[in-house]
């Protein structure tokens, strides 16, 4: 599985031999590959006018392009804000709740993200074909798909250590602009242009997987909530800045060069989480290493609202916590 950003085909249908060769080397003799473009066919076409575009069939004959539009940017942030508002609205009657939930569209985004990740996984596992994923910039929906596909396909990504590695690789090092995307969250009045909850969407999708495959992830909901918290505000440097360059070299703030030097001046979230005393809070007592691919159901009935996150401060989790404590007790007793 590969990821990139969009090719700069532009309105004049530019070609780039090197790019074509690079993609050519990925495929074996006679093999074919899939390109999953996370924009709609129309949006991809429009991107050409702005200098971007898609891989033309003629130049990339062995690659088949599939469009799976995934929401990103402002609309996704709006979806998130609306959902949080709906969850906080105690005046909604039962006969209006579901349509209100629907109007936020958040669950539709979860469904779309999972479906696309499953598609990528299916291409690899069932069709045994290589897959290239990209959207426009390659920093948002692209990473959502590649990271999720790996959780589905690869059992080592489902271990606590493996998942941390996945986050490092597919989100942090891959350059998801955390600083811009996880700026103010849902309550802020400042509607920042670059803010969008892609990472939360990813965590939500992982939560859906943990619900559908309760034995297959080494970690539990608590880890996902902790990651959500730390992406927005953290005592650790793991989610700081927008990319590796900023973390190492620093970035320009106004006219001054800000030397971040994250690794030298902050602590790593992983170091803290992995301490034996802390670690056990994040483990799933039901975990049992499953070497198989986990194929989630993306039917609407199978996708649920992540109550642990969206109702975290609204309803008591006491009874569910007691249930988990009981599960822990049973497993440890054994």
């Amino acid at each position: 599985m590969l990821r990139s950003s969009q090719p700069l085909t532009g309105p004049n249908r530019k070609r780039c031999r090197e790019d074509e060769m690079l993609l050519g080397t990925v495929l074996d003799e006679g093999e074919r590959g899939f390109i999953i473009d996370t924009r709609s066919a129309q949006a991809a076409k429009q991107a050409r006018m702005m200098g971007g575009g898609t891989e033309p069939k003629s130049s990339y004959p062995r690659w088949r392009r599939l469009h799976r539009p995934l929401e990103r940017g402002r609309p996704l942030q709006e979806s998130f804000i609306k959902l949080v508002e709906a969850c906080n609205d105690s005046s909604i009657n039962m006969d209006r709740w579901l349509s209100r939930l629907e109007s936020c569209r958040w669950l539709s985004h979860v469904k779309a993200a999972l479906s696309t990740a499953c598609l990528a996984a299916q291409c690899m596992d069932r069709e045994e074909a290589s897959v290239l994923v990209h959207g426009a910039e390659g920093t948002d929906t692209t990473l959502l798909v590649t990271a999720l596909a790996q959780v589905i396909l690869d059992p080592s990504c489902r271990t606590l250590a493996g998942f941390q590695g996945l986050l490092e690789r597919e989100w942090i090092e891959a350059g998801h602009p955390f600083h811009l995307r996880c700026a103010r969250s849902a309550y802020s009045h400042a509607r920042l242009k670059q803010e969008a909850p892609l990472f939360l969407l990813f965590l939500d999708c992982v939560w859906q997987l943990s619900r559908q495959f309760p034995f297959s992830l080494e970690f539990g909901e608590h880890l996902l909530l902790t990651l959500f918290d730390n992406a927005y505000a953290s005592a650790y440097g793991t989610f700081l800045c927008n990319n590796e360059k900023e973390r190492q070299v620093g970035r320009e703030v106004g006219t001054a060069l800000c030397l971040c030097k994250v690794k030298e001046s902050t602590h790593s979230l992983w170091a803290w989480l992995n301490q034996p005393g802390e670690k056990k809070k994040y483990l799933n007592p039901l975990y049992s290493h499953n070497t198989l691919v986990i194929w989630p159901s993306v039917e609407p009935q199978s996708i649920q609202l992540w109550q642990g996150l969206f109702f975290r401060w609204i309803r008591s989790s006491q009874y569910l916590d007691e249930a988990w404590a009981e599960i822990q007790r049973l497993v440890e007793g054994n």
């Binding site: 105690s90 006969d95 579901l98 479906s115 996984a121 194929w295 009935q301 049973l330």
Partner: protein, 651 residues
């Protein structure tokens, strides 16, 4: 009929070819060729509707919808055969006499005494004793001993000490269907009670001294409070409309010391339509999130569930927190009243959250108080307007509570699903007819078997591993959050999409934890034995080798492993785009996976749908494998057909 296709609901590509059999009690589809000879058994009683669809190139489609929400799509090659099957099923699914029902031919091979014992498992007298009755305030009355006062009530009713036979009879004449106020639940901690009845025949201004005295008697039976609540579970408009027909509700001016309350739960017709709409949503092919949520909201189903729950919460609060008695009624006092009283009891008393207690609860508030099982669930062919998912809603309320309070119930989701299944299956005699009177006339207990005994025998399948009687969650009253809590009500795909395997988690946490619990228990017992042995070692010589080999066998048996191949699942259709691409034949991967899914390890003895050979329904010995560890596996050779029972009519 041969060469019939059974289509897969979710994946239109998958279908199975086989032979369709019609017997006196079942429709059976047997798949050709596959090693497991997968069988699908459907009881005629379960059939809700049959739809003949337009003939296509592949054959004549027939859609069978069941009351337990199974939907079977068949394609019959010949139109003539399809028509014959259709006509036959229509007749078979609409029995005219009780004797046609499966319970009269079902034979679990128990002797007469065992059958009797099975019926005695749930004893309502014992239950009222457990509540603390008879006592200073409540007594048992035989005024209805020959069903002379009310033919839909039981022969034994519990009434306040100060209510004389004269008062009871007088009150019954003033109540719809003569269903006078009687005791449902008594709280001995504070003497508050839940009583139930039907609506008074008050019209606009009629009064009845005895009825007023009856309510006074209920109030007096609770010295801790100087008033009682009267809860009418109907919407106010409906209740008011009833007045024009000479019925209605209690006027606070006429009845001293009552506080009247409407809690609007819609009637059986609204509920029937609501379920219908929700099932239509379930039948949508690949719906979007939008389609699903809109459809679910339009059906109103969860709104109704919440309304029933809220009513139960109100009554439970009145009893537990205010110490005030409540009289509940609707129109006839056998639908909404039953739902609301049983939900309230469940919230109030942890006993009803045990397996036995739950059976008692249903026996008390549904069976003995004359809920019209026959009319509501269509045992016999009857008026379609009487059909309504009343008890289904109650069962769903219980499930919703189980989701909110995972440690509070001794039983699990499977218990609820099987009870619902058997209410419609007519395999057991508990839920036949419309009243205790009718059941006694038919001699149900002598001629059929009790579901409770059957469930009790298999109770280890129905246990909730998280339940501990000493856990804080299981003590006392349950307090579900009332508001804001719309989001707490979830769509119950375990029930309404029960047969769609692709939708459910492959791995059952409940079963795994039960196995863990069992194993821990066995290990602890073994530890004890070892401790004794160690002590004895000093006294006598022990054969070391014998000891070691026993240990090895045991640990092999008990080795719990969820990570074996039987958990492979198949991807659903995420995309049509992959079809035209050169790829491996889909059957290669899929066959392997689906065969794995049906291995012995995954068959649960008492789940009629997972057990491919539906042995429960044919009354043959169980195919069972209790725990994933494989302990206690009893594979049976024949595939579950008892030649005495099934009369094969190869059509």
């Amino acid at each position: 009929v041969e060469n019939v296709r059974l289509l897969d609901r979710l994946s239109s590509r998958k279908s199975a070819l086989g032979t369709l059999y019609l017997t006196a009690t079942h429709v059976i589809f047997v798949e050709n060729g596959s090693e497991t000879r997968k069988e699908t058994w459907v009881l005629h009683s379960q059939i809700s509707s049959i739809e003949k669809q337009a003939t296509t190139a592949t054959g004549c489609p027939l859609l069978i919808r069941c009351k337990n929400f199974q939907v079977i799509q068949l394609v019959i090659p010949q139109e003539r055969d399809c028509h014959d099957i259709y006509i036959s099923l229509i007749r078979l699914a609409r029995p005219v006499k009780y004797e046609e029902l499966y319970c009269f031919s079902f034979n679990p091979k128990l002797d007469k005494e065992e059958r009797e014992q099975g019926w005695k498992l749930v004893d309502l007298n014992e239950e009222y004793n457990r509540m603390g009755i008879p006592n200073n305030y409540w007594q048992i009355s035989d005024v209805n001993r020959d069903y002379g006062v009310c033919d839909s009530y039981p022969t034994e009713v519990y009434i306040p000490k100060s209510a004389t036979a004269h008062i009871i009879v007088g009150s019954s004449k003033f109540r719809s269907r003569r269903r006078f106020p009687a005791l449902s639940y008594y709280c001995k901690d504070n003497n508050a009670s839940i009583c139930r009845s039907s609506q008074p025949l008050s019209g606009f201004s009629a009064r009845c001294l005895e009825d007023e005295q009856m309510l006074q008697a209920i109030r007096k039976a609770n010295p801790g409070s100087d008033f009682i609540y009267v809860v009418d579970t109907r919407p106010k408009l409906n209740a008011m409309a009833n007045r024009a027909a000479g019925k209605g509700y209690e006027n606070e001016d006429n009845y001293s010391n009552i506080k009247f309350q409407f809690i609007g739960i819609e009637n059986i017709h609204v509920m029937r339509n609501s379920l219908q709409k929700m099932l239509e949503v379930c039948e949508l092919k690949s719906p979007s999130m939008s389609d699903f949520l809109w459809g679910l909201e339009n059906s109103g189903w969860l709104k109704h569930i919440k309304a029933i729950m809220d009513a139960g919460i109100f009554i439970a609060k009145a009893v537990a927190e205010e110490g005030v008695s409540v009289l509940v009624h609707c129109s006839d006092g056998w639908d909404r009243t039953a739902q609301v009283c049983s939900v309230a009891s469940l919230l109030l008393d942890p006993y009803y959250r045990t397996m036995k207690g739950f059976m008692v609860l249903i026996e008390k508030d549904w069976v003995s108080f004359g809920h019209k099982f026959n009319h509501r669930y269509g045992n016999l062919d009857g008026d379609p307007k009487e059909i309504s998912p009343v008890i289904d809603q109650f069962i769903e309320c219980v499930w919703q509570l189980m989701e909110q309070f995972p440690c509070a119930f001794e039983f699990n989701e499977r218990f609820l699903i099987h009870i619902q299944h058997h209410i419609y299956s007519c395999q057991f005699g508990n839920f036949l007819c419309n009243s205790q009177k009718e059941r006694r006339e038919l001699k149900i207990q002598e001629r059929t078997y009790s579901l409770w005994a059957h469930l009790w025998k298999n109770r280890t399948d129905y246990l909730n591993p998280l339940y501990r009687s000493d856990h804080s969650q299981t003590q006392g009253t349950l307090h579900p959050q009332m508001a804001p809590c719309n989001f707490l009500y979830k769509f119950w795909s375990g029930m309404y999409n029960r047969f769609e395997k692709g939708l459910h988690p492959r791995q059952s946490v409940t079963d795994y934890l039960m196995a863990v619990k069992e194993e821990t228990q066995q290990l602890e017992e073994e530890l004890e034995v070892l401790g004794e042995r160690l002590a004895n070692l000093q006294k006598s010589q022990l054969n070391d080798n014998k000891f070691k080999s026993k240990q090895q066998d045991r640990s092999k048996q008990l080795g719990l492993s969820t990570s074996n191949n039987s958990l492979a699942n198949t991807p659903q259709e995420y995309s049509n785009d992959l079809k035209s691409f050169p790829s491996r034949s889909p059957s290669q991967g899929d066959e392997e996976d689906s065969a794995l899914i049906l291995t012995q390890d995954n068959l649960k003895s008492s789940d009629p749908d997972l057990s491919a050979n539906s042995d429960q329904e044919s009354g043959v010995e169980d195919l069972s494998c209790r725990s994933p560890s494989g302990g206690g596996c009893l594979p049976s050779e024949d595939s579950g057909k008892d030649s005495d029972e099934a009369v094969f009519l190869a059509v």
